[in-house]
Amino acid sequence: MMNYDIVVIGGGPAGLAAAISAYDSGAKNILILEREDKLGGILNQCIHNGFGLTRFKESLSGPEYAYRFIEEVKNRDIDVFLNTTVISLSKDKKVTAINSENGVFTVKAKAIILAMGCRERSRGALNIAGSRPAGIYSAGTAQKYVNIKGYMPGKSVVILGSGDIGLIMARRMTLEGAKVHAVCEIMPYSSGLKRNIVQCLDDFGIPLYLNHTITKIEGKERVTAVEISEVDEKRKPIKGTEMRFECDTVLFSVGLIPENELTKNAGISLSNRTRGAIVSQNRETDVPGIFACGNVLHVHDLVDFVSEESELAGKSAADYVINGEKEHNSVNCINGKNISYVLPQKIDTDLEENVKVFFRVSGTFKNCTFKLSCGDKVIIERKKKIAVPGEMETLLITSDKLKEIDGDLTLSLEGA
């Protein structure tokens, strides 16, 4: 059995930043396990620009952003196993993995960092009527075909869901000569970034139908058309509003789900809100010494924030390896009115440092107030002009404010 101080599962942006940070925080015996044949994760197929504006103050492509971290990993004495799939993880921090060189092998770690990322929701999760013709892809799969494999999945496209990957693919397919007829979104708002609505749809005259969904996919061998309908407030299709688009391809961009099979099987508690592990502010799960960061924990809008969170997890893992287990003196942080999730879900109140709370709102709200309260006591209040579910919000609890906390916290959005 191999022994490492820290094993990082996943070599995407989260795993890379976590490994670098753990190393720089004093842990020296670190291994990254990556299932693809190179590091970088999903960034490798995200050839569009706009990454790194927060972190590097410049607009990078996905591979460029990944490269900066891959170089940093190479500059340190960090082991990397590529083409290696982790098949199980246990509470006592044994990782079982498989690759063609070593076969099945087990690594024992003092600390583990979960950085497996997320995967796309599929058509199956949506229950759309119709047969099962060829030509239906998740937006990320289409992105891989076009950008990595170099061929087009179709010529005439309808996209369901206005997540960022769907918007990016609307532009990408258009640039490569396809006709994108429509992007339809069941919600009254897009879950994608505003800038992507402008530069991916408006720039090319691609219509965005809000409050619309696909009600039928036609075609036997290959998609031949889709029918879309307007939906009511309960998101049920309204009869008589059907529109039909002839097309050969349907892309789904209907959300991302943290990939937590390993986490679940290891007996780590998951949040039904984020669908990732329940963590403390140091990104430690409820199994001491196992940490999580990036999209496996909660789906981020920007990779810059993934890197930031992962550095925190890396530092915490190193601290665990060097200084041993720390007792948590924590309160729960719960999502209240109009808030869909809060992270971290547990906050230690005896810290001498600030704690950043990340959360999403459950609808579109104008001129509202975020309120973090402990029973009847309001700890923090902050006004916000516009809050939308597509954009992650943050609140900073300073170490002074932490001292005022004597029970569970509730974060809510008021005045909406």
Binding site: N44, I47, H48, N49, G50, L53, T54, S59, L60, S61, G62, P63, E64, Y67, V146, N147, I148, K149, G150, L175, E176, L193, K194, R195, I197, V198, Q199, D203, D301, L302, E391
Partner: protein, 116 residues
């Protein structure tokens, strides 16, 4: 005087900018939160510019991610795409290597990812 409402695309904040245009020029810009936004709005009402990102098929068959190293005229995006799709390059290639000089208005097409 004409009022134009824009969403800034310079960063993920997506500021809503209101521009007052007179004789084809921005005379007042409000709503931006940084100088990049002001510049974006000034250009956007005169001549919208975009960085084009795509791929070039290398001689080895592997796809090389590419981008223009400066924004090019939005109106010329499809012309730039046509050139991009007529190009090929050798591998290995490194980030920043020029694949096509002056693809449009002085902008070069450069590799935006390493391919071995």
């Amino acid at each position: 005087m004409e009022k134009v409402n824009l969403t800034c695309i310079e960063c993920p904040m997506g500021c809503r900018i209101e521009v007052e245009v007179e004789n084809g020029k921005a005379v007042s810009i409000t709503g931006n939160s940084c100088p990049r936004g002001k510049m974006y709005a000034e250009n956007e009402v005169v001549c919208p510019m975009r960085v084009v990102t795509s791929t070039v098929r290398s001689k080895s068959g592997k796809m090389v991610p590419v981008k223009t190293d400066k924004p090019v005229k939005k109106a010329l995006i499809f012309e730039v795409m046509k050139t991009i799709n007529s190009l090929s390059c050798n591998t290995p290639i490194r980030i920043g290597d020029i694949i096509c000089e002056n693809i449009s208005d002085g902008a070069n097409l450069v590799a935006s990812g390493n391919v071995d």
